[in-house]
């Protein structure tokens, strides 16, 4: 199984935090909230494009809403394997941080 990049991990996490499915605007907002950094839609789409190809995310067209000026929206839903990938990434992080000596004393 492929390892997720940090960006992909954040996007998957954002979707999961948004309840497992969401469209572009809340995902972006969530990612900015998590990473405290700005992200452009293009970057978001390219990562999503990769996640879709890998089968971690599915996209369907949603109904247009008035606040979007009558434009349609695409809703991204995390898949079972997407969830698995997220979980494995989490486990990996935990392994990395396990038995980690305290970092702070070394800092001056």
């Amino acid at each position: 199984m492929g390892v997720l990049t940090f960006k992909e991990e954040m996007i998957l996490a954002a979707i999961w935090k948004l309840g497992g499915s969401a469209h572009g605007v809340p995902i972006r907002d969530k990612v900015i909230e998590i990473s405290r950094k700005n992200i452009v839609y293009g970057t978001l789409y390219n990562s999503l494009e990769y996640l879709i190809r890998k089968g971690y995310v599915e996209s369907i067209k949603g109904e247009p809403t008035p606040e979007r000026g009558g434009k349609s929206k695409t809703i991204y839903t995390i898949t079972v394997s997407g969830k698995k990938a997220l979980m494995e990434t989490k486990e990996m992080h935990e392994t990395i941080w396990q038995d980690m000596p305290d970092l702070k004393p070394g800092l001056k």
């Binding site: 293009g42 789409y45 494009e49």
Partner: protein
Amino acid sequence: MKKRFKPPFLARWLLQKMSYYDKKHSISGDFEESYKAIASEKGRFSAGFWFWSHTFQTLTEYFRFSISKGVIMFANYLKITLRNIKKNKSFTIINIFGLSSGIISCLLISLFVMYELSYDRFPEKADSIYRVVLERKYPDRTRHWGWTATGLADDVERDLPEVVQATRILNEMGETQISYDEFKYIEDKVLYGEENFFDFFPVPFLAGDPGTALRDKFSIVLTEKAAGKYFGDEDPLGKTMLVRNRWADNIPHVITGVMKEIPKQSHFHCDFLLSYNSTRVSENPQWGYWQVFNYLLLQDGCDPEIVEAKFNDVIVNRYIAPLIVEDGTTTFADYLAAGNAYNFYLQPLKDIHLKSMIEHELEANGNITYVYIFSIIAVFILVIASINFMNLSTARSVNRAREIGVRKALGSFRKQLITQFIFESVFMCAVSLIIALIAAELLLPVFSEFTGTVLELKYFSNIYIIPGIIAFTIVLGLVSGSYPAFFLSSFDPVSVLKDNSRQGSGSRIVRNCLVVFQFASSISLIAGTMIIGNQIDFMLKKDPGFNEEQVLILSNGDSIGDRIPVFKEELLKNSSVINIGGSGQYPTQATHTAHFILMETGNSASMYNTSIGFDFVETIGFDVIQGRSFDTRYATDSSAVLLNETAVRVLGISDPIGKKFQGFRYPITIIGVLKDFNFRSLHRDIGPLVIFNTRDRRASYFAIRVRSEDIRDTISYIRNVWDDLTGRAPFNYTFMDQDMENWYSSETKTGQITSVFSMLAIAIGCLGLLGLAAFISEQRTKEIGIRKSIGASMWSIMYLLSRDFIKLVVMAVMLAFPVTYFIMNNWLNNFAYRTGISITTFLGAGLLTLIIAMLTVGYQVVKAANSDPVKSLRYE
């Protein structure tokens, strides 16, 4: 309220342009939603700013995405292409082999043509340098002279303001013996040039100063190669060499410079360049002595026609007219009215190599007709190869009809199919091109040697070459792939999957047209090759009017001096030597002309003249048709001349024997008339000729007729006699028949090149035919099976299958005839003596093509006709 919150129009338009994002990810909606949120929070302006900046950043992301998507698509097309190539190995090999040999041929020929087209480009001022030549009209004929007057350069430079500088080049017609220490050689590449020679032709110097090297009398400049031959590693500058020719009798010349070789692409070459001031003609420049080449440097951008006009107005009247009216018998106007004319014209330096076809060239030139012929061949071969490619792809495409049907049924777009086919074809072209470039690189040395040129593939010499090659590949791929691509992708999946037999018929007409064109080109090439071959044969076999076989030519005859009778006597002691005669010019050649006036009638004509010694007529085997030849027994023969038939005709006299020419120190009597013989190559007609008697006092050449057996011994005998008499002067001999073959070396070369490439064209064409035949018999497998099962014989099936091909070849012959006739007739007109073009040549070429085609098709046809009907009917 709502209107105020509309995001910027232009940015929205940009977003929509990123169609993939819009379709897959609803980009417009996401942007508008975020925009509205920001606008209501921070105001319109910061929202607008956000919208713009994010649009641009997204745009760069979109580009990145598109490129990676393109790579993926490319990989996909490549995968399918490779799969197809693997599935049809033999087809692919035929296709790529055919195309790459086409490209190789075209490439090599183009290089050769480019080489021929880029002569005399090394002088910086090449565009403003012209050579003065003369169209001399006589009442009965016209001649073009390369040699012009020795006085021309000075007078023209002074009289015409357009002329910046003029320079003379004199080529030593005889041989020059140059010696240094014990090194003594006969040199034939010797030219005389003026002080400003290097202003016109800037050949780089290794030592010495080009500005002054040729200024002083008896100075000599030699090339690096010649310096190595005489001096080895020594420094030649300042040393003296002894020069012996008609201008100098072992006079010491001081070496004032060593230059690099004159570039190969120059209309003249020399190993030694001597100061023009050393010659007698330089002392007294005059208009009556025509033996130098005059080159003019005109002012920048000056129209040569203006200078030509001035020449024919000012110069002719000022300098030529006085010469004509000198003896007071006629006025210049009357002279012109009688049909005489002096029309000077200027040849651009760059055109001399290919377009100058005049007398006394410095060297055998190229010929623009050959450049045309070769260019046509190159285009033909490439077209044949491309047609092959198209034909094979189209033919095979029918077998792929099902693949297309399935892919279409599975939802492939037509655009994708077209892209796939074009991609395959461009890919094959690229592979062929790479193979061709590698092969051309390997073949180049062989081809260079074959054509006597120095060709190089210089990819970086010109910024257009690499883009040109890439563009060429893509265009060829597009053109060859377009027909199958558009034709195939238009298949209706339903009918294709139901039944595929009908699909071939639509393309058959196009395919047949292409085959006809291909064969017409091949037939033209074969016929052209045959015609060139015929002409060469004709020239080599035409009786020149003497017997050139078993004749040995000794040059450097001047070394014998006046001991010619002794030399002859000694040689004739050997029974293998049949006869020997001396001559002033290379035997049977005559390059100089003079004006002759008959004493009795006043008839006059300008005629070629040469000189021969006693026994020369007998040695060479001229036919004496009137009177007799020179004979030692008659003392009066010292002032006797021989004429040829043409001279008698030009003079307009019926009884020439005993008539005298005036204007010489003593009257000269005509004692005999020789049957016309070709004293020049057959490119030119036979001119009027007067032959003087050298009285065996001096000879530059000896013609020796020897018996065919033990030639080696005979030559060593001659050499011994020679060494005894001359004190080991350089001994150079050639065989006359070989020398005469060299007159036609340019034609022989053309003949060889065309035959090689027309064989290639045929081979490429047949490759295509092979593929086509295989395809057609495969298509008709079922039909053949049924025919056989109801009792058709093998022969009838073979007839059935080959009938179509024969029809195509016959059509091709009819198409090829007029085109080839036109081109080749044009070429043959270069020769004063030419063969005709007979219809049998075309029938022969057609038959040959037909036979080759049948042999190619035959294999497939026999295989199909012999096949077991049970198997073929089970084919489904």
